[in-house]
Amino acid sequence: MRHRSLLVLSIALTGALTLTACGSRGGSSGGSSNASSGVTVTIGVDAPLSGQNSATGLGIEYGVKIAVDDANANHLVPGVTFAIKALDDQAQPATGQQNATALVADSSVLGVVGPLNSGVAQSMQQVFATANLVEISPSNTNPQLTQGPNWASGQKVRGYKTYFRTATTDALQGAFAAQYASGIGKKKAFVVDDKQTYGAGLAGIFKDSFQKDGGSIAGTDHVNTGDKDFSALVTKVKSSGADLLYYGGQYDEASLLTKQLKAAGDNIPLMGGDGIYSTTYISTAGQGSEGDYATAVGVPVDTLATAKDFIAKYKAANYPGDYGDYGGYSYDAATAIIKSVGTVLAANGNKLPSDARSKVVDAVQNVDFNGIAGHVSFDQYGDTTNKQLTVYQVTGGKWVSVKTGTYTG
């Protein structure tokens, strides 16, 4: 009996572990290796491909995949076939760090696109810096990542020379949002965040800027990621008399929050950052999202002539994620790495040098080209020089851009 029990137990556990392993591997099969060419260079991807934030995360993976396919089809770097290796960080910093270690260990990886979440980026930066492996995030917006912990007081210090991003920072995004909110006559905002690096940072910047612009704060609160029930919070917001709810965080919680807020009879808009700018936000919140605002980095991809081909490919492949958020930036981030690999190769007689990784880092620092989502080049902190932002509003069940510009202090 005892042996049988142990047998059943080990089968159950093995089964569970196998399935877990399958889960974490999900989506990594994408790639396009073509054995006939000489060298294969892998572009690593790290993003949440399952669970929380996965709609946006998959958008990153497929944005990179299209860039890699285009580079291979157009022989952007002669003699090199690019492949992708996508790892799922499930929006967890610890998992992101493991993935970073795994990508570093794969010597064919010369650059990484990702992650989605600023908090995850924090745990990965050091690993990549030690290995001299370039990392370009299409979406991290926390200012600290490039400019150090004391950026707000003007003491900007770049921590990691291997870290770059194609998204502009929350310092601009939060202030841009506050300026817009004041501009449409909002006076009293209730500010909620999810306590994560991205959400809390953004909410804090919004709060300060909104008060500077003459608005008042009706109250503040925090939620946990993964929470579903916000009824108590919603009642608080409703009784506070706020005319705007600002949310710093991702669409998973924001969509439920706005839905429950509207259902409770409080018809004020929710405003958030690029973390909520996702079609999933609208599909989850339904009618409740109508009239809500989101700021996002850059200009709307669908309005760009340069991105037409990309969007068509994305739609034709019927990928499950949203390209809207960062697909275009992921494409550009991957292209920056691919072009840099080309530069390094060209400078070394069309062979990969032994210190290819650190040479790629230097080449990325100097990239300068027109990507599909705007101009791609980086300043001395690794931040994008493209500092355009857009405010979107949900109108008729779709995100519609209402204002594009750069923040003017």
């Binding site: 137990l9 399958c22 579903k228 009784s239 409770a264 989850t284 499950p320």
Partner: protein, 309 residues
């Protein structure tokens, strides 16, 4: 304080769902002394079962028509999975040390999560659950929505049916006997395997009802929703006195109320601003649990099967 009635109602709605799930923990524990940690996932699969029924029904079917079918579909899914788990994972371990079935339950919970994640189409992110288009209704200063109303009606109805079943039916009495002493019950001609399976089945049935409530209230189901809900329901079961079906419901309600009041009012107490708010709700729920267990280790109502040490 003018929000108090609404906050009490919020707690009641939230607590009803916890209570429904808690029944599953408490019944299984009451009869086989097993904490079925996979119960949260049985709840989750119920939600997906109900969603599947909705998706296969012709597009545009009225939800009022679909809802009973969804409840049946969710219940069938949950019950079949629970019975399968009982038969193939727990029954072979029944005479093993206590720890073995507990670990099997944790393994099973991971397996079920990943199975839904991998096998159910597009379950990698939350799936949209259909919504009742009715209401909202205003009762004084309380604002009630269709999903809440469904929850708050389903919970007592389920409880009454369960109470009648346990007290009046032959199987119910056999369950009580098995809970008291399975060996003697077996000698008296009770098929204990059947009774234990029934306990799992009823628990799963209620979990499926809770999952439909959850879907209607939040408008979504996702593969990881069982973890937190299961943890809360387990807490509710312990709070009410694990093994006691009325305690499970009471524990759920107390927990829901505690969460909602903590979110609303703790930050108003001078010096507590930092400890209030939505993100602390879970902390206060567990503080309450610890307090109850310190002063009343058997839970609020105590376990009914007191003569079993």
């Amino acid at each position: 304080m003018h929000t108090l009635p609404q906050q009490l109602a919020n707690g009641l709605f939230l607590g009803s769902t916890y209570g429904l799930i808690a029944i599953g923990y408490t019944m299984v524990y009451g009869i086989v002394q097993l904490i079925n940690f996979a119960h949260g996932e049985i709840f989750m699969t119920g939600g997906f079962g109900a969603l599947t029924v909705y998706l296969v029904l012709p597009h545009g079917t009225s939800l009022w028509l679909a809802l009973p079918l969804m409840l049946i579909g969710g219940a069938l899914t949950s019950v079949l999975i629970a019975l399968g788990a009982e038969r193939f994972a727990y029954r072979p371990l029944r005479n093993a040390p206590r720890l073995a079935p507990l670990i099997a339950a944790i393994g099973l919970s991971l397996a079920l999560q990943q199975a839904v994640h991998n096998l159910y189409p597009k379950a990698t992110s939350p799936r949209v659950f259909p919504q009742l288009h009715a209401g909202p209704w205003n009762l004084g200063s309380i604002h009630i929505q269709a999903g809440d109303l469904f929850t708050v009606l389903a919970a007592p109805i389920c409880m009454i049916i369960l109470a009648l079943f346990v007290q009046r039916s032959r199987t119910g009495r056999a369950m009580q006997a098995t809970a008291q002493d399975p060996d003697t019950a077996q000698l008296m001609g009770v098929d204990t395997n059947k009774i234990i399976a029934t306990a799992f089945g009823i628990g799963a049935l209620f979990a499926a009802v809770a999952a439909v409530c959850y879907g209607l209230r939040y408008g979504q189901v996702d593969y990881s929703m069982g973890f937190q809900a299961g943890l809360k329901a387990f807490t509710a079961a312990v709070l009410g006195g694990i093994g006691n079906i009325y305690g499970a419901m009471l524990g759920g309600l107390v927990l829901g109320l505690a969460e909602s009041l903590a979110t609303a009012y703790i930050s108003d107490i001078p010096g507590m601003q930092q400890l209030g708010g939505g993100s602390w709700a879970n902390v206060w729920a567990f503080v309450l649990l610890i307090l109850v267990l310190l002063f009343r280790p058997q839970g609020l109502l105590g376990e009914r099967v007191a003569d079993r040490a």
